[in-house]
């Protein structure tokens, strides 16, 4: 792929169905949907009309007057960007008169523009420069006068500069921030010559409301808003389309390169998940790939008390294989296992679970989805028959009512949140069910119709109360239920939820949600038209996570909100490939495609393909592995791309389990927190350094493409293959596409997936097979995958984690926009300017009672442990509730979380911990001890010359 800026058709396509009209533009006939602008039609016909204020990601604005055209039978020179094509219209885009007019317009712009094109960072990538050429501007008649040349550059944002001296006040940036991102951080202040772009109240970008999504930078036609990396490195020379490795939205980007150096990541307009938008993480926070702390050579050590010893790849692989074989011989086959990563590709994940099942002969494989969305898998499979969300992201554009439960999309899934906000600005109604007043509840031009600020841990009671209202007020969609679901099960469920004890009034004391608010929300969900539910970890990470997922599914079925555009049940997946990791057979009881290991027919296929006898027994889950390790019977663990010490609950217990093992292998980019307990470190590759696929939250399989060579020497799939072959397996993959071919052969829902197919379609949403060759955007259209939709009675069982006099507050945890998960990557980028530390949000009332000051240090203590961090006093959280993030190892919020977990899947209960908060003046004992431990365990032996040979 060579470098070619993406084509810009100047105006967006017409939405929805429209009759076709035919026009003639410069003698060429063109057929377009009615409503299409003349500018876009001309571009589609192969022409191009000069423009400055128009771009195809934004609604036309008509301010620059450069795009004037002549239309036969019409007076004057209309702007082509704002004029829709009419049937039979005859348009001329290049006439002598137009040339003169355009030259005049350009001349005015250029007269107030610094003429330092040769040294400008955007030289060759500037629309103003291009347009000056396009209109044939050769001279500027206006002399020296007032200009904006002396305005200072704002370089406060770590990733882009704002140089107002180059601004032509086209307002593309302002409109991008409003229309695409929905943050409304920019305005044009002043009038006439004094007009200028302002961030918030004329602040610098960093201190403004700007969330650094980059939409304005992308929209800017000049060098006014420019990526710092372009200023430093220069303009790119080639581009490769790939997929973001951060969150489950799965934005696709053009990685724009100079040689092997990444210049910038530009969101790809053709990307079906993001349609050309991005957030600060995917767009800018990729510098971790070159961070000084990245480990590039394998290391081993006999004991975690020893310093690391750098070794060759051969030695590291041989040592690891020998250790696993020794441990299996001594302690039994089941004494070993592995963890796959939701950050790695489908192909890598598939190979890790294959290594464990085929190579070690056990099913002790699990994945980080255990700690986030395992209840989604269980709940949706039980009710609908598939462990995945029902819709594509585009579906939100047809939603009339949007329910957000236990998710904070503007921080966790920002690009999807922008789509959602756009729909809300168009008039869709919003219901937020969350203990915190998340940003969506009230943000510019968006306000929730209802916010149900429930007490953490009462999701099932709240959803059942909503079901109570729907059933007892006769709002259920009986015709749909009779046709699509099991009627007897529905009746059992309806009788259960209709009991008076489950009414909003009866449960209000427990949930804290005013009954009238809950009733109004339930009525709106049931009767407001297409209603779609989006939920996140605030649903799953509870002792009743699976029940909550099923309660959501019940509501959707009872109201007929499954099986078409605009409705559905949509888990917002946390990590980029958490859907894929689950699909690929990362769970200890399932092969790829969610088929139980005890199914003889399925197991037989894998046995035949892999030439090995496979275990029919479910293996250990992560918490069970740790328990078994403490028990002394689980001794070796291979961990790819996960940091269980920081991400999993009850850090003390995780540390105890890891410390009890004889061989812990960490395969990662950095010496993460888990590596303090590791005996082997295998350096990993970044998503920029390998080929593969990720599957996003809408089941969309997208290509990850290698744009540079792996700095550590191998792509991760190659490293797993080296290990497999050292264990005596005979793997011969030469490219990840061959792994995908194997996945397709063995997994019915992936049967139609191949790299050639992905290249042809851009992406595919599984199931993609003979029955659905183009993939499946919306599931359960005519019938549920399991046949009849199944209503499951979900009793509210309160968590055993209870508040009391010693621990009177409820802690709930979450994430923020600029950081990602345990922060291993984002902490190693400039994103730290937005979130240098984890903070504890506490209500003013609770703070005052405890003498806690805003910004002061506090101790946060639970039955499991204690940590210290600084407090933010805010009424975003309700009295009795405190909130923090878990992005920083120094805080280790999981020191305080307990090991209570979801009843069905053991997904940890991160969202409810009884705690006490008190002022503090220093780190907890644990923090001090932990800092010493990590410092000691990160020592690397001084290299002895020649020793590595």
């Amino acid at each position: 792929m060579g470098f070619d800026a993406e084509p810009d058709l100047g105006a967006p396509p017409v939405r929805g169905e429209a009759p076709m009209v035919i026009a003639t533009i410069d003698g060429r006939p063109v057929t377009v949907p009615a409503g299409t602008s003349v500018m876009r039609a001309a571009a589609l016909a192969g022409g191009s009309i000069p423009k400055l204020c128009a771009t195809d990601s934004l609604q036309p604005f008509g301010s620059c007057r450069l795009c004037l055209v002549e239309i036969e039978g019409r007076a004057g020179y209309p702007a082509s960007c704002t004029t829709p094509v009419a049937d039979g219209m005859v348009v001329h885009t290049q006439t002598e008169r137009l040339k003169t007019l355009r030259k005049g317009v350009m001349e005015l712009y250029i007269s107030d523009h610094p003429l330092d094109c040769l040294t400008c960072a955007a030289n060759g990538d500037c629309e103003l420069q291009d347009m000056a050429g396009a209109v044939g501007l050769r001279e500027v008649r206006y002399g020296e006068g007032a200009s904006h040349g002396a305005l200072p550059c704002d370089d406060s944002n770590p990733y882009f500069d704002f140089d107002p001296s180059k601004c032509i006040v086209c307002s593309r940036c302002v409109r991008a921030c409003d229309e695409v991102q929905g943050t409304f951080a920019l305005t044009i202040g002043g009038r006439g010559f004094g007009s200028k772009v302002m961030a918030s109240q004329d602040q610098d970008f960093l201190s403004s409301e700007c969330v650094s999504c980059g939409a304005c930078v992308q929209a800017c036609p000049t060098a006014t808003l420019t990526e710092k990396s372009v200023i430093e490195i220069g303009t790119p020379e080639r581009a490769v389309v790939t997929t973001c490795a951060y969150c489950g939205v799965g934005c696709t980007f053009r990685a724009e390169m100079r040689g092997e150096e990444l210049v910038r990541m530009v969101p790809w307009k053709e990307g079906k998940a993001n349609h050309g938008h991005s957030c600060v993480k995917g767009r800018f926070a990729w510098g971790y790939a070159n961070h000084a702390e990245r480990i590039l050579e394998p290391m081993i050590r006999a004991s975690t008390a020893d310093p690391w010893r750098v070794v060759s790849w051969d030695e590291a692989i041989a040592h690891t294989a020998a250790e696993f074989r020794r441990i299996q011989a001594r302690y039994g086959a089941a004494a070993v296992g592995g963890i796959t990563s939701s950050r790695c590709t489908n192909e890598e994940t598939f190979l890790v679970q294959k290594l464990i099942r085929q190579g070690f002969g056990v099913n002790n494989v699990d994945t980080c989805a255990r700690v986030c969305h395992s209840p989604t898998g269980y709940g949706l499979k039980t009710t609908f028959g598939t462990s995945a969300g029902t819709q594509d992201f585009d579906s939100v554009e047809a939603a009339d009512v949007i329910v957000v439960i236990g998710a904070n999309p503007t921080d966790g899934h920002p690009v999807f949140a922008s789509r959602m906000k756009r729909r809300l600005r168009q008039g869709a109604k919003l219901i937020v069910i969350d203990p915190r007043r998340i940003d969506l509840v009230r943000s510019p031009h968006v306000e929730a119709a209802h916010h149900l600020p429930l007490r953490p841990g009462t999701n099932v009671a709240v959803l059942t109360a909503m079901a109570h209202v729907i059933v007892t007020e006769g709002l259920a969609n009986e015709a749909y239920v009779r046709e699509r679901c099991d009627w007897d099960e529905f009746q059992d469920w309806a009788a259960f939820v209709a009991e008076p004890s489950r009414s909003p009034e009866a449960t209000e004391p427990l949930t804290g949600v005013p009954a009238q608010t809950l009733r109004a929300a339930a009525r709106l969900y049931a009767t407001g038209g297409n209603a779609a539910i989006y939920y996140g970890l605030g649903v799953t990470e509870h002792s009743q996570g699976s029940s909550t997922v099923m309660a959501i599914a019940n509501l959707a079925m009872a109201t007929g909100n499954i099986g078409r555009e605009g409705v559905g049940v949509n888990p917002l997946r946390g990590q980029n490939n958490v859907q894929g990791a689950c699909d690929m057979g990362s769970f200890p009881h399932e092969f790829s495609g969610y088929r139980h290991v005890s199914d003889d027919a399925v197991r037989g296929q894998f046995e035949a393909a892999w030439g090995a006898t496979l275990s029919a027994e479910p293996g250990l889950r992560i918490p069970n592995m740790l328990d078994a390790a403490v028990d002394g019977i689980f001794k070796a663990l291979f961990i790819q791309g996960e940091d269980i010490l920081q991400s999993d609950p009850n850090t003390h217990h995780v540390a105890e389990g890891l410390a009890a093992m004889e061989c812990v292998v960490v395969h990662d980019l950095f010496l993460n927190e888990t590596a303090s307990y590791a005996h082997v470190f295998l350096p990993g590759s970044t998503f920029l350094e390998k080929d593969g696929t990720f599957t996003n939250a809408e089941r969309r399989i997208q290509r990850v493409r290698k744009v540079m060579s792996p700095r550590n020497g191998f792509a991760d799939w190659e490293i797993v293959q080296l290990l497999a072959n050292a264990l005596g397996l005979d793997w011969r993959y030469e490219h990840p596409s061959q792994v995908m071919d194997e996945i397709a052969r063995l997994t019915p829902t992936f049967a139609g997936v191949s790299y050639a197919g992905l290249d042809a379609h851009g992406s595919l949403q599984w199931p993609a097979n003979a029955a659905a060759p183009e993939g499946t955007p919306v599931m359960h259209v005519d019938h549920f995958v399991r046949g009849k939709g199944r209503f499951v009675v979900t009793d509210y069982v309160p968590t055993d984690e209870k508040t009391g006099p010693r621990f009177p507050l409820l802690l709930t945890t979450g994430r923020i926009l600029s950081q990602y998960n345990v922060g291993a990557q984002t902490r190693r980028t400039d994103n730290v300017v937005w979130h240098p530390e984890d903070l504890l949000e506490i209500h003013p009332h609770d703070a005052e009672q405890r003498g806690v000051r805003d910004g002061g240090w506090v101790s946060l203590k639970s039955r499991a442990g204690e940590t210290t961090l600084r407090a933010t006093v805010t009424d975003r959280v309700a009295p009795g509730v405190v909130y923090t993030t878990f992005h920083h190892p120094q805080t280790q919020a999981n020191v305080v979380t307990t090991d209570y977990s979801d009843w069905a899947t053991n997904c940890p209960e991160y969202k409810v911990t009884a705690v006490q908060v008190s002022p503090s003046n220093g780190p907890s004992d644990w923090q001090t001890a932990y800092r010493q431990l990590t410092e000691a365990s990160r020592r690397v032996e001084a290299e002895i010359p020649g020793a590595a040979e």
Partner: protein
């Protein structure tokens, strides 16, 4: 912190409690099915031992489910 045995008992009780609303017969079956599908053989063996040793700490529903599991495994072995 719970011992491994306490944790298994806790897990079995928790599963049973969440199925309870489906009525005693269905709930015991569902709990037994759940344990069979998701627990590794060592955990299943351990909970059977706990039952054999008197089942202290198991709720009546969880104990019934483990009894069912025991009967099934016996049947499977005999078959």
């Amino acid at each position: 912190m719970m011992s491994p045995a306490e944790r298994l008992i806790y897990m079995a009780n928790q599963i049973a409690r969440n199925f309870e609303a489906q009525g005693p017969a269905t709930a015991a079956q569902a709990t037994a099915d759940h344990i069979a599908l998701f627990w590794d053989p060592r955990m299943r063996a351990h909970i059977l031992e706990i039952l054999a040793a008197g089942g202290d700490g198991l709720s009546p529903l969880a104990a019934e489910a483990v009894r069912l599991l025991h009967a099934r495994q016996g049947a499977a072995r005999a078959g």
